[in-house]
């Protein structure tokens, strides 16, 4: 329950329902009867955080234990923070209303680089020192997880430990150790030493980083018994791992307000720009039966009328048709809609289209990523123009009139012809509509192009690449716009300043911790929100800390350079990434994992198992 003090400020803020807790299926326990209190923090607004599947899985998994009580914490929006600070109300967890400082373990999920300042702000709002070295007691221990943890160095000074890989695997071991240390009255140093021995736990303070004169890393030296390489954890069998039977159902409308089900983890495609496609390997599929049963149970416990089948590439799920048949058996009767995001254009079958037209119709979105075949080959997108146009044709015949196309600007080897190619491809889709005799009558077509700026990420074949400068990206955006000649095509793009900053932190090192702290102390937070983004303050922060951001973004690295994340092992062999990087320059593609194993090495961290490998061997 929230405090009287908080109740007083609720009438003064927007959408107070975000700060009350008490949603259906939220878990309330007796705090005197648990051994460990865990605050799971999402460093963004309630609406964003409550849409995240990971928090639902880990919340429910932790609360399945009798000795642990896991609660949720989100970043209060600007108006709420102002009221809280004015009245000295510390940041509290939604279930108990207790301040964050009373918790034993504080976990942050780092989903995107631009949420980093919110982590500091949330700790500070709770009266907790932001730097790990200033938190001397055993508790609270601050742990980070999520995709950004594959290079957590720009946040290394703020966290006590990082958890690498699948959270379901590792959380219990961290809980057990901390409970043990609390009972034995261990010091924080003793806890950290032991934590470093848990597979998948990275304790940043146990590593010294030495730099060369040119600013690159010379050496990473582990202290004491800390391992030289920390290897991420993987869930071996998705059918056996914990999946919630209940989702918390928010009162306030959140971004993804529906049942979400992860049907496979990892990706067979190996698109060279895509970090998720590599760091979630090896590929593991969940059985259609498990998904069907769990979806039905979730619909019953939440009352949701929509299921989203989530994964990096949903049409690559081998049992998709079987699953759709099973689901449609009951969803049609129960008026539940099924959404299939992340479909590919090259295996979008007639049958799948048939299933889709039986559920409520939403928009169609495809991601060619690049405008010309040469560039699509360089990034290993493995989609041809003919496949794309034939899918467009099928969708128009199927009654769709709006298509959304996702592209990226600033990809390695990109030329201005490739940029113009985006507009040309969109034009061909428009033409496809008008040349189609089966098109929906009396309607026009709308092709929306959404253009992101490419940011090179760790553990991808492009991790050594220089990122396009802000000016170059703006020129490319203008070039694209000048090539669009019809109102049937609309173009939207990301702010390039935001992509630039994302680029700095994606491949940054520990020296950036000072920059994050400076920027936060001077007002930066909610950086991923256009209205809150203070680019000038960030530039000032780099200057004051004596750091050139272009060192991280615009510099092409040698394959030999020691990268800030080289002591972390996500199962992807560096030699594989180098090979892929070289192939990109030859515009040479690599077939997907089911056609031929490319030898990324990730199966080795899963006892040699990979669902794509099994497929090709059958």
């Amino acid at each position: 329950m929230i405090s009287k003090e908080v109740e007083k400020i609720l009438p003064l803020v927007q959408k107070p329902g975000r700060y009350t807790g008490g949603e259906l299926n939220s878990v309330v326990k007796d705090k005197s009867k648990v051994d460990l209190r865990y605050a799971f923090c999402f460093p963004d607004s309630y609406e964003i955080g409550m849409s995240h599947l990971g928090i639902k899985i880990l919340y429910s998994g932790a609360n399945a234990r009798e000795d642990v009580w896991c609660e949720r914490v989100f970043a209060p929006w600007h108006d709420m923070e102002k009221e809280m600070r004015e009245r000295n109300i510390p940041l509290y967890a939604l279930e108990s209303g207790d301040p964050l400082s009373e918790f034993d373990l504080i976990g942050f999920t780092l989903q995107y680089e631009l949420s980093y300042t919110n982590v500091l702000n949330m700790l500070d709002l709770a009266g907790i020192p932001v730097r790990a070295k200033d938190r001397t007691a055993l508790t609270p221990i601050v742990v980070g997880g999520g995709p950004c943890v594959c290079n957590p160095e720009p946040m290394a000074d703020f966290f006590d430990i990082f958890s690498l890989g699948d959270g379901e695997e590792i959380s219990d071991e961290i809980f057990d150790l901390l409970i043990d240390c609390k009972k034995n009255g261990s010091t924080k140093a003793e806890f950290l030493e032991k934590a470093a021995q848990i597979k998948g736990v990275y304790v940043p303070s146990l590593y010294d980083i030495e730099y060369n004169e040119d600013g690159t890393i010379g050496k990473v030296v582990p202290k004491g018994a800390a391992p030289e390489k920390v290897t991420k954890r993987v869930v071996a069998d998705l059918d056996k791992v914990h999946y919630p039977e209940k989702f918390i159902v928010p009162f306030v409308e959140v971004v993804h307000d529906r049942v979400v089900h992860e049907i496979l983890r990892g990706c067979i495609r190996g698109c060279r720009f895509c970090q998720a496609g590599f760091i979630y390997r090896p590929i593991r599929e969940k059985s259609a039966d498990t998904i069907n049963t769990q979806c039905r149970r979730l619909c019953e416990s939440t009352g949701y009328d929509e299921i989203s089948l989530s994964s990096l590439s949903t049409s690559d799920y081998t049992h998709l048709e079987e699953l759709m048949e099973k689901l449609l058996e009951w969803t049609e009767k129960d008026k539940v809609n099924i959404a299939l995001p992340s479909l590919r254009v090259d295996n979008f079958s007639e049958k799948l289209m048939g299933y889709l037209s039986r559920v409520r119709r939403s928009g169609l979105t495809f991601a060619p990523e690049a405008g010309t075949q040469r560039l699509r080959d360089a990034i290993n997108k493995n989609v041809t123009e003919e496949e794309m146009l034939s899918t467009a044709r099928k969708s128009f015949s199927g009654g769709w009139t709006a298509v959304k196309l996702y592209f990226m600007l600033g990809l390695p080897t990109e030329t201005y012809d490739d940029v113009a190619g985006i507009a040309e491809l969109a034009q061909k889709v428009v033409n496809e509509f008008y040349n189609n005799p089966d098109r929906p009558k009396g309607k026009g077509v709308q092709v929306s192009i959404s253009v992101a700026s490419f940011v090179p990420k760790p553990f991808t074949p492009f991790q050594w690449e220089a990122q396009d400068t802000i000016d170059e990206l703006i020129r490319k955006q203008e070039h694209l716009l000048s090539n669009v000649r019809t109102k049937k095509i609309s173009v939207s793009y990301h702010k390039v300043n935001i992509s630039f900053l994302e680029g700095v932190f994606a491949r940054g090192d520990r020296r950036l911790c000072d920059v994050v702290e400076y920027a936060w102390r001077h007002g930066c937070k909610f950086d991923s929100w256009d209205d809150s983004f203070l680019f000038d303050v960030w530039l000032e922060a780099f200057e004051k800390c004596g750091i050139d951001p272009l060192f991280y973004t615009s510099r092409k690295r040698d394959y030999e350079e020691i990268l800030p994340w080289d002591h972390l092992d996500y199962g992807i062999r560096k030699q594989f990434l180098i090979k892929e990087s070289k192939k990109a320059y030859e515009s040479e593609t690599t077939p997907h994992c089911r056609i031929q194993c490319a030898g990324c090495g990730s199966n080795m961290i899963n006892g040699g198992k990979c669902d794509a490998l099994c497929q090709s061997m059958v």
Binding site: L10, G21, G22, E23, L24, S301, G303, D305
Partner: protein
């Protein structure tokens, strides 16, 4: 297909559930309860669920009602039992009945406004009495002028149908009947805000909607 009127209380933290959020929350509750809903027969079938009169965000209520169309031959008691256990926290089903009046006929609402102040309540009681006994109590109300929103001056005294001031321990309780409905609507927080503004001491308030009334002061059922 028949229509039932579901009565519920919206107390405690659920007062921060907005009208739109409440509609979604109740629709989900009805789905969890597995009540055989009647769906519209159009291109995009959806259940037919309507609420008598939206409640302002932050207000509690003892008299909320929701109409829904159902299939099958479940009795009102059966529907009541099915719904009772599937409500989200803070929303309590009190009854399921056949609708009697058309929600369009709602004309007044009766509200309790509770004032909490740290210093003595007597001064507050006399201030409220003085304010309500005068001929004029002008406040600004957000109204519409064409498509634009504008602030209008209104005299609250003209709209207050009945009131009663009382003390409840260290709280002051003001019961008031104000226009509520689709034609004229006066939010009791306009009055509460004005009292809060004029009182010298710090005071907070909370509002509970107790019942809705027809033009002839008969209770909406």
């Amino acid at each position: 297909m028949r229509c039932v009127r579901v009565w519920f209380k919206k107390m405690g933290m659920s007062r921060y559930v907005s009208h739109l959020d409440l509609m979604r929350a109740m629709t989900r509750a009805v789905r969890r309860a597995k009540i055989p809903l009647w769906y519209t027969e159009g291109f995009n079938p959806h259940p037919y669920i309507t609420f008598a009169l939206p409640l302002s965000l932050g207000m509690e209520s003892l008299c909320e009602s929701m109409d829904m169309r159902i299939e099958g031959d479940s009795t009102n008691e059966e529907i009541f039992l099915m719904l009772k256990s599937s409500m989200p926290p803070g929303i309590e089903i009190t009854d399921v009945k056949d609708p009697v009046h058309d929600p369009k006929k709602i004309t007044f609402g009766e509200f309790d406004i509770f004032f909490d102040c740290e210093k003595g309540t007597d001064e507050l009681v006399s201030l409220i009495a003085e304010m309500l006994n005068s001929d004029e109590l002008i406040v600004q109300k957000l109204g519409k002028k064409g498509r634009h929103k504008v602030l209008k001056d209104i005299n609250l005294i003209e709209f207050i149908k009945e009131y009663k001031i009382g003390k409840l321990g260290d709280r002051v309780k003001l019961t008031v009947i104000l226009p509520a409905g689709s034609t004229t609507n006066v939010n009791p927080s306009l009055l509460a805000d004005e009292i809060q503004k004029r009182y010298a001491e710090a005071v907070t308030y909370s509002i509970v909607r107790k019942q809705l009334l027809l033009e002839n002061a008969e209770r909406f059922e």
